[in-house]
């Protein structure tokens, strides 16, 4: 029978045949022949529907049902077993996405299909697609987890990590496509292009570290970015030209260029990442110091430029491959074009170049501590989420050597540093070495002799006390009440930790973990003699306690602020213990004689100097006494640092008003023994200022 055109039954059967597994191809042809015999429309339709049923049950239906059942079972199991935490969503997403992704992408012979018939080739491709799916799931996980809080620096860092994962997925997919059996590129061209790309990536990595030695000014300024751009541009152009000449087709040039760029990016990412991971100190301005949470915003901005290079590389590669392929007959012309493209790349590598200027703090500088010799600085950043160790051996060229999660503390001798679960030897701040790990969380305080350390797990109300006399082998002494605010008495026998369980209270404990007494108020500060304890209450008053007998603390007095104000920072004692300073929310600083607390000396704010941020946060005003106790410095809440001579505390003399070039509140600290002050700001600028006192 001859029929004109295809009726719905033919189309239905055609669709059924596409679903039929290839092993049943003969049966599909048999169905086509049978359908051709059937004349009546209704009967043809029923026959075609029957054939579709066969195709579904023979082909994908069982596998789809099986996959859905397996996924549902896995997700149910995960939920029932209480799988929670940061990556729970990612794990479940992976379970949902991976099997269908693998089945769909690895099954056929399309541009993303098989590269060969061997078992190894099939496995390799499925693993490749598995990695693509994994990267995509992690990307989605990162993005969805962090977008609601994208203002947070760490969240922004995670978004960047998501971009990296997305980039990696794209490169993997491109590699799988270009190596598939249906790829336009012959195998030889793929090999050559990949090799050229790998060499380009290695050259780029070799050039990269020369940024600092060459500097950012002078005759070498142009050399570095051009040297950095040439392998990125030259490698795909050369591969494109070779491919186009070999295969006499400019499209091959384009594909070879893209293939080369992918190889360059992969080599740069893998080897660069490994180098940064192994020796972060050697790659100061690179991307990641220590895990996602350790990313400070200033590091991210550098990483952003680095990512920009990787992101634009395939486009550059495709364009260069096309140009190289089209102009292959005349090598002189492509060379000129390459030089022009390198010049075009100059602006963005210059951006990369400028990002290498080291920065302190980043957004939200929260703390600064110097070692006694002034060679090392701990700068809290990112709203307290990270702290970086800076080597100030050459103050003009500070180098960040380690960034850690949340907080870090120097031991009083400045030779040991504690960070989350870690102790470091920072005798040479340029090369900090790891001493020991412990299971205690974030450091809170060292004792004056450096033999005891208190630590607390983030957001916990318990504090662990450690004997770190041998920093290589920390020994747990006891666990007491207290959070991330606490102090040892100068003799190191008693620990005061703040507990916020109901109202702010400070718990005094022996270092063995025995609870001795409880006093009201938070943020305990011991006077240098250890007999006086100051705590601050919620209403902005400060209570002073006699803790000569720590089991029976007696309240000496309460210090209130002026009218309509409150005391906004922990009190600061002078090194000799005679003076105590408090800061009110209106910017008034008061000096108190510890032995005569009724008669404070008021240090007025500078007229005209802005202090409008005082009172908004407890961290906005900080003050410090110099090691000899004769000088007192106050960070006034924006860009002003006031310095007072308090050698005669009854007649303090303001000796200097320094203004930072950067705006915003900051923190202030003296460099011990060096007669200078450092101050930082939270605006992410190049924000640590160093003033020498005369």
């Amino acid at each position: 029978m001859n029929r004109a055109g295809l009726d719905p039954a033919d189309r239905l059967l055609g669709y059924a045949l596409r679903l039929m597994p290839s092993t049943r191809g003969e049966w599909g042809q048999a169905m086509v022949a049978e359908l051709a015999q059937i004349e009546r429309g209704g009967e043809r339709g029923r026959f075609a529907i029957g054939c579709l049923r066969v195709a579904l049950w023979q082909g994908p239906l069982w596998r789809v049902i099986g996959a859905i059942a397996a996924q549902a079972a896995t997700v149910t199991l995960a939920l029932v077993s209480g799988l929670t935490g940061t990556f729970a969503g990612e794990v479940i997403g992976l379970v949902l996405v991976l099997p269908p992704g693998l089945w769909w992408l690895g099954r056929g012979n399309g541009y993303f299909g098989q590269s060969g018939a061997s078992r190894a080739a099939r496995i390799a491709r499925r693993v490749g697609y598995g990695m693509v799916a994994g990267c995509l799931v992690v990307t989605v996980g990162f993005m969805t987890a962090t977008i609601p809080q994208v203002d947070d620096g760490v969240a922004a860092a995670t978004v960047w990590l998501g971009v990296v994962m997305l980039l990696l997925a794209c490169y993997l997919l491109a590699t799988l496509a270009v190596t598939s059996a249906r790829s336009l590129l012959p195998a030889g061209t793929v090999t050559t292009s990949t090799a050229i790309g790998a060499i380009g990536g290695l050259v780029w990595l070799v050039v990269l570290p020369f940024n600092q030695p060459l500097g950012v000014a002078g005759p070498w300024t142009l050399v570095y970015p051009v040297a950095l751009a040439l392998p990125l541009v030259g490698a795909p152009a050369m591969a494109g030209a070779l491919a186009a000449r070999r295969n006499r087709d400019v499209h091959h040039g384009v594909l070879a260029g893209g293939c080369t760029s992918a190889a360059t990016a992969l080599v740069a990412t893998v080897f660069g990442g490994a180098a940064i991971w192994l020796r972060p100190d050697l790659v100061d301005s690179a991307i990641i110091d220590r895990g996602p949470a350790a990313l400070a915003p200033d590091v991210i901005s550098v990483g952003g430029s680095y990512l920009l290079v990787l992101l634009t590389l395939p486009v550059v590669g495709l364009v260069c491959g096309a140009i190289g392929g089209r102009l292959t007959a005349r090598w002189l012309v492509p060379a000129t074009v390459l030089a022009a493209i390198a010049a075009l790349c100059f602006p963005f590598v210059t951006v990369l170049d400028q990002q290498y200027i080291p920065r302190f703090g980043g957004v939200g500088a929260t703390s600064m501590t110097l070692t006694p010799d002034g060679r090392a600085l701990l700068a809290g950043a990112d709203g307290g989420m990270t702290t970086s160790l800076w080597d100030l051996t050459d103050p003009a060229h500070p180098v960040r050597t380690v960034s850690v999660n949340r907080t870090a503390r120097f031991a009083p001798d400045g030779r040991t540093m504690a960070s989350e679960d870690q102790l470091w030897n920072v005798s040479d701040p340029g090369r900090p070495t790891h001493l020991a790990g412990f299971d205690g969380g974030d450091p809170v305080a060292f004792s004056a002799d450096g033999r005891e350390l208190s630590t607390t797990v983030h957001n916990s109300t318990r504090t662990t006390l450690w004997n770190v006399a041998d920093p290589g082998h920390p020994v747990r002494m006891g666990t007491v009440d207290g959070g991330d605010l606490g102090a040892f008495t100068p003799n190191g026998l008693v620990y005061a930790g703040t507990s916020f369980t109901t109202t702010p209270t400070t718990v005094l404990s022996s270092v063995a973990g025995v609870r001795l007494a409880t006093v009201t108020g938070a943020e305990p500060v011991f006077a240098p003699d250890g007999h006086l304890l100051a705590t601050r209450a919620d209403d902005g008053t400060v209570a002073l306690w006699n803790v000569t007998d720590p089991t029976r603390p007696t309240r000496i007095t309460d210090i209130a602020s002026g009218e309509d104000t409150s005391i906004v920072t922990p009190v600061v004692f002078s090194p000799d213990g005679r003076l105590m300073a408090t800061a009110d929310s209106d910017g008034t600083i008061r000096l108190w004689h510890v032995d005569e607390l009724s008669r404070p000396v008021v240090l007025a704010p500078v007229q005209g100097a802005g202090n409008h941020q005082i009172g908004l946060s407890d961290t906005l005003t900080t003050s410090a006494f110099s090691p000899d106790g004769h000088t007192f410095a106050v960070e006034m809440g924006d860009d002003v640092v006031m310095v007072w001579n308090v050698a005669d505390p009854d007649h303090p003399v303001r000796t200097a008003v320094h203004t930072r070039s950067t705006e915003g509140a900051g923190v202030v600290a003296f460099t011990p023994g060096l007669s200078s002050i450092v101050g930082t700001a939270p605006d992410g600028g190049n924000a640590v200022a160093l003033w020498h006192l005369r």
């Binding site: 029978m1 001859n2 049943r24 003969e26 049966w27 042809q29 048999a30 169905m31 086509v32 022949a33 049978e34 051709a36 015999q37 059937i38 029923r46 026959f47 529907i49 029957g50 054939c51 579709l52 049923r53 066969v54 049950w57 023979q58």
Partner: protein, 101 residues
């Protein structure tokens, strides 16, 4: 390779239809109409029988012009034996069950 499992009633019907004339090549649609099975049921049975070596298949040698060659089937030697077993089991099965009660 014959299966030891007892075939379903529909499979038995198909086997019996083939066994009626073991030398004749049959084609699917005609067979389906004879035993009252639609394509969705008939083809899986034919596929299973073929997979187990109970069925021989060939393509129509000389199809009419303008029509694709049809797929033809008949029982193999093993298929003929199985069809005979099924035919002999079909009648005593029920009386045996009754006696058991």
């Amino acid at each position: 390779m014959a299966s030891t499992r007892r075939p379903s009633a529909q499979t038995a019907a198909v086997l019996c239809a083939f066994a009626a004339d073991t030398s004749t090549w049959r084609y699917g649609y005609e067979l389906g109409q004879e035993v009252g099975l639609k394509a969705g049921s008939l083809y899986p049975i034919l596929m299973r029988l073929s997979d187990r070596g109970l069925l021989e298949a060939t393509w129509e040698a000389d199809p009419p012009p303008g029509r694709p060659p049809r797929h033809l089937y008949r029982l193999s030697g093993a298929g003929v034996r199985l069809a005979a077993e099924v035919a002999s089991d079909a009648h005593p099965a029920r009386p045996e069950l009754r006696r058991a009660w």
